[in-house]
């Protein structure tokens, strides 16, 4: 390219007119930011705003990835086995006692509309033993500071615990499991075996043969949101299986949430039947590390009662029910609410520990609702959620329902009462518009 050509390009860029739509975007961004700054009781210290806009959104993005990583291993056992080929792969994997693999994920976008977009990279090494549990080592880069961060996540079935260790912060977090969740997570922990089963339960296409690094592979692709229990928006998951050994070689994931966030990732470098020692799966927590929060955390339950409690908490906070039942939309809605709440706090109102504990206590039952919905989707119980049109005042209106047996449905109503009805009764109830 010569000087004239470069100058011509630069001049043409310089002469471009600003489209009206772009002016509108600028105005919206400016107004949103101004509105945010002018919220009542805005803290005097800029550090809290900075925390909310940078650190917190970054951490939330990281949290989203971890949630996704955990969700990917949640207990979804599809009832149908649509493909002999994939079933064969699943059977082959059933013989594996210990697996090691790597996962790369990248999250971009904004957790909350109007907030700066984040770009978060994570690389993990996961080792799973049928006998001892799971260990996941996560490396992340903070997009704001460029600093590397590491975390180790342990799933310890014997203690019914998930433990996260954060060496940079010299902190660790303990999360307790309920018996139900643990019983299922013992079987599947973010495990390629589970992914095969999930894919078998979803609609997928056979991509035929291909080649990855000289290995002949067979590909399977799904865009069925059911693979993640409809927790995401658009999903595209491609699984490549070694045509000779019937073992997975590569998984490619591409998910968008609400058109605001995009998560891409790969799972690769599988090693099968690796020798494992029990000590690998025992959390290593140096004596000077602090428990954060001190009293530990509890995983959300997946029961109707917990889901109803979550809906009540959400409605008390926002005056309406969540618009969507899927986990990521719900997390976005909740995050927006919590950022708004945090912006109203005065400096010194709460310690960081207290703030995190409060946030987790609020989040957990709400997540229970999303987890219940995911489970119902995966179990093909035909859940339908009407949060966009039904509110707390719509006493007799169907807020959510799912199938429990032939011609039998469980219904949660607008006033959060619940009862079991027949198909005919449900049809009548769903005919009635919300009051």
């Amino acid at each position: 390219m010569n000087d004239d050509r470069l100058e011509e390009i630069l001049n043409s860029i310089g002469a471009e007119e600003i489209p009206a739509e772009v002016r509108g975007i600028a105005q919206d961004a400016s107004n949103n930011f101004n509105k945010f700054l002018r919220q009542p009781s805005q803290p005097a210290k800029p550090s809290l705003l900075e925390l909310i806009m940078r650190s917190r959104t970054t951490k939330l993005a990281a949290a989203a990835v971890i949630v996704i990583a955990v969700l990917a291993g949640l207990p979804f056992l599809p009832k149908n086995t649509a493909s002999v080929t994939l079933a064969g792969v699943a059977e082959r994997l059933g013989q594996v006692k210990a697996i090691m693999y790597k996962m790369k994920m990248h999250v971009t976008g904004s957790m909350v509309p109007g907030m700066p977009q984040v770009s978060q990279d994570m690389e993990s090494t996961i080792i799973i033993s049928n006998d001892f549990g799971m260990k996941m080592e996560i490396d992340m880069t903070d997009p704001n500071t460029g600093k590397k961060m590491t975390q180790q996540m342990y799933l310890v079935p014997d203690s019914k615990l998930m433990v996260m260790v954060m060496p940079e912060q010299k902190r660790f977090t303990r999360m307790e499991f309920t018996d139900d969740l643990l019983a299922q997570m013992k079987k599947q922990n973010n495990d390629p075996r589970e992914m095969i089963k999930q894919m078998m339960g979803a609609k997928y296409t056979d991509l035929g043969k291909s080649d990855i690094n000289g290995i002949e592979v067979e590909g399977f692709k799904t865009t069925d949101p059911a693979i993640y229990g409809s927790a995401m928006g658009d999903v595209k998951v491609t699984l490549w299986v070694d045509a000779a050994t019937w073992l997975p070689v590569l998984v490619e994931m591409d998910m968008t949430i609400n058109e605001k966030m995009r998560i891409t990732g790969t799972i690769y470098d599988y090693q099968w039947n690796v020798p494992v020692d029990k000590s690998i799966f025992e959390p290593v927590i140096p004596a000077d590390y602090e428990a954060f929060p001190k009293e530990g955390m509890k995983m959300p339950e997946m029961t109707e009662e917990a889901a109803i409690e979550g809906l009540k908490i959400f409605a008390d906070l926002c005056g309406h029910y969540p618009k969507q039942a899927n986990m990521m939309d719900l997390m976005q809605e909740m995050t927006a609410v919590m950022i708004e709440q945090a912006s109203k706090e005065k400096p010194g109102d709460m310690t960081e520990t207290e703030r995190v504990t409060k946030a987790m206590e609020t989040m957990r039952p709400v997540q229970s609702f999303a987890l219940l919905y995911m489970t119902l989707v995966q179990d093909k119980k035909e859940p339908v959620y009407y949060g966009e049109s039904v509110g707390p005042d719509d006493i007799g209106a169907v807020l959510m329902r799912w199938k429990t047996a032939q011609n039998e449905y469980r219904v949660i109503f607008g006033d959060l009462s619940a009862r079991t009805v027949t198909g005919e009764q449900l049809a009548e109830l769903e005919k009635q518009p919300p009051k």
Binding site: M1, D3, I9, G14, V22
Partner: protein
């Protein structure tokens, strides 16, 4: 400075520079998604440094904030490597030529985001904002010769980067 004073100052700066920011960020990004992101970073940058935006140097600071925001937005762009093709379309123009021009503009924009700040500022002021060297020198806090030198070095860097891509 009290929060209310910072807010007032922020509002003044925002009102004064919003047209400029919109113009320069659009020219630097040429893409709505990138533009939104760069605009958000700019507003946050203004809020962070609002105390410095009172005096004569405010214009120069705003340039730096805009250029930093633009670089961050480009760095965050994932997987697409700056492959944006949304230049205004002239129906009379030959399709290949149009594609080539749009691609070249996108590459130039991306490479500007990677230039050292002074060079990026110089090239933006000179070519995208059509400013004379005296004005550039004032904003860059250097002599006219220094401004020329920054423009010249930026052009050389861009040329070499672009030549490597052709």
């Amino acid at each position: 400075m009290k929060h209310s004073e910072r807010l007032e100052l922020f509002e003044n700066v925002r009102a004064r520079y919003s047209v400029f920011l919109t113009s320069v960020l659009w020219k630097l990004t040429g893409d709505k998604e990138l533009f939104t992101e760069a605009m958000q970073y700019s507003l946050f940058g203004i809020w962070q440094h609002v105390e410095k935006l009172k005096g004569e140097k405010a214009g120069a600071y705003i340039y730096r904030i805009a250029l930093t925001a633009n670089s961050k937005a480009w760095r965050n762009r994932v997987g697409r490597n700056g492959e944006i093709l949304n230049d205004p379309i002239d129906p009379a123009e030959d399709a290949d030529e149009r594609l080539d021009r749009a691609e070249s503009a996108a590459i130039v924009r991306r490479e500007i985001s990677r230039l050292p700040k002074k060079q990026a500022g110089a090239i933006v002021m000179r070519y995208l904002e059509q400013q004379d060297y005296q004005a550039i020198a004032e904003k860059l806090s250097c002599s006219k010769a220094g401004a020329r030198s920054n423009v010249s070095r930026a052009m050389a860097t861009l040329k070499s980067k672009l030549a490597a891509l052709v």
